[in-house]
């Protein structure tokens, strides 16, 4: 593969903390220096400063749609409430 191929890595995990993502970028670096990363962040995830050894373009995409965030919050609340309902879980033990 020629050295100048452009590679875009898309990950739904924060790449700073995921070793499989970091390792794949390191391996890809053997073949191309033109690598960019697009990371799909969760609505409550904070955009971190790049403290990795990789000097690359990073795009951090947060969910922008307000309606979607509200629906997400709604589900998160429901899930939390459901998880805390110990009486319900006792029935199925």
């Amino acid at each position: 593969m020629s050295k100048d191929k452009k590679i875009l890595v898309i990950t739904s995990r924060s790449f700073y903390n995921d070793y499989r993502v970091l390792k794949s970028i390191y391996n890809l670096m053997n073949f191309s220096k033109r690598i960019s990363i697009a990371q799909l962040l969760k609505s409550n995830e904070i955009i971190q400063k790049n403290n990795t050894i990789f000097d690359i373009n990073i795009y951090s995409i947060k969910p922008k749609n307000k309606a979607s965030i509200n629906i997400q919050k709604f589900f998160e609340k429901k899930v939390d409430k459901f998880k805390r309902n110990e009486k319900f879980f006792k029935i199925f033990k």
């Binding site: 590679i7 875009l8 990795t52 629906i71």
Partner: protein
């Protein structure tokens, strides 16, 4: 599918999925702009959520992807991830994933032979499936500097407050995230039966819920201790001084059944005898059926046999350690892995 594969109807998998699916729409536009701006030659996709966003963009704007090659890194079998999902959602995930991979003729990378077989069966094409194991790293991925000479090992850290009694007792390690369904509770229950065995759990909790549940467990705090997460590049040297490693991953989903976890490869790199759950990938990695096994397997669900198997394992630790002479240990950027990447990017 394993006979002990369990299916729970009352789970939260579907709620999480609906939540994720609603979220997809809000990533689409920005990701489309990034692709239009960059015009990449290759798109490397990590996991299903990223694939789902891409497939949605692909549906609307196929021309954008005309000259782009795709590589999909499936960390697990998405529809059989933990927590188990309801039937309809499994079908939906499988449909979207396989359809997109076929449409774009993507190359698929996965972590174990079992997962590779799953994708080659689904895609009816095994030329585009590649195995990249979760091998350990010797490379520091972060810029912060630290003095490596001050680093301790697991033995020093574990016995700094507790004297080792008796002196010939053995120290085992479990490394990785401390969470539900990884067999940690079963491992603790097992170690409770052996007063001469110590266990270090090297890792951090991934949820407060499990931390609270863990606190309530009945175990000897001087024999079983939690040691904070150690950086990936230091881990091998840190665990090297232990006497054995325990890999109890429970096969509660198909994805876990075919898993080839980091901790297994890290323990191998540290030359530790390994006691693992009986799973296809563990049998291969530990060479259980060969003349030079480096560990033993047992069923962590079967508590009576487990105790006997562990006792036999402890009696053969020296033999397993000796058998590492026949092992070739490789790290993630070893020449053979680079060769696989060369093939993938061709």
């Amino acid at each position: 599918m394993p006979s002990f594969y369990t299916f729970k109807f009352f789970n939260l998998g579907y709620l999480k999925f609906i939540n994720d699916y609603i979220n997809i729409k809000s990533y689409e536009k920005e990701l489309e702009n990034i692709i239009t701006k960059n015009i990449p030659d290759i798109i490397y996709i990590h996991e299903f959520k990223a694939l789902l966003v891409l497939s949605s963009i692909y549906k609307k704007n196929k021309i954008l992807f005309k000259n782009i090659k795709f590589i999909y890194d499936a960390h697990e079998i998405e529809c059989f991830r933990n927590p188990p999902k309801v039937f309809i959602i499994k079908l939906f995930i499988e449909f979207i994933e396989i359809k997109f991979l076929k449409q774009v003729k993507a190359k698929v990378i996965s972590v174990s032979h079992g997962i590779c077989n799953y994708y080659s069966n689904k895609l009816k094409n095994n030329k585009n499936i590649f195995l990249i194991k979760n091998l350990p790293s010797k490379i520091r991925f972060y810029k912060d500097n630290y003095d490596i000479t001050t680093e301790k090992n697991v033995k020093e850290v574990f016995f700094q407050d507790t004297p080792r009694d008796p002196p010939n007792s053995k120290l085992g390690i479990y490394s990785g995230i401390l969470t539900l369904n990884r067999g940690i509770e079963e491992a603790i229950q097992l170690i409770n039966n052996f007063p001469n065995i110590y266990l270090a759990l090297v890792g951090s909790f991934n949820s407060k819920k499990f931390e609270a549940r863990f606190d309530k467990l009945n175990y000897d705090r001087s024999r079983i201790k939690i040691i904070e997460h150690v950086e990936n590049d230091l881990l091998i040297n840190f665990i090297k001084t232990a006497d054995f490693s325990i890999v109890p991953t429970l096969p509660i989903t198909l994805s876990y059944y075919h898993s080839s976890p980091n901790k297994l490869h890290e323990s191998k790199a540290a030359n530790l005898p390994i006691f693992a759950q009986i799973l296809p990938e563990h049998l291969i990695e530990l060479k259980v059926n060969s003349s030079h096994p480096i560990g033993a397997v047992s069923d962590f669900f079967n508590h009576i046999n487990l105790k006997n198997d562990f006792e036999i394992f402890l009696n053969h630790l020296n033999e397993y350690k000796h058998n590492y002479k026949f092992e070739k240990i490789s790290y993630f950027n070893s020449p053979d892995q680079v060769k696989i990447y060369q093939k993938i990017l061709r």
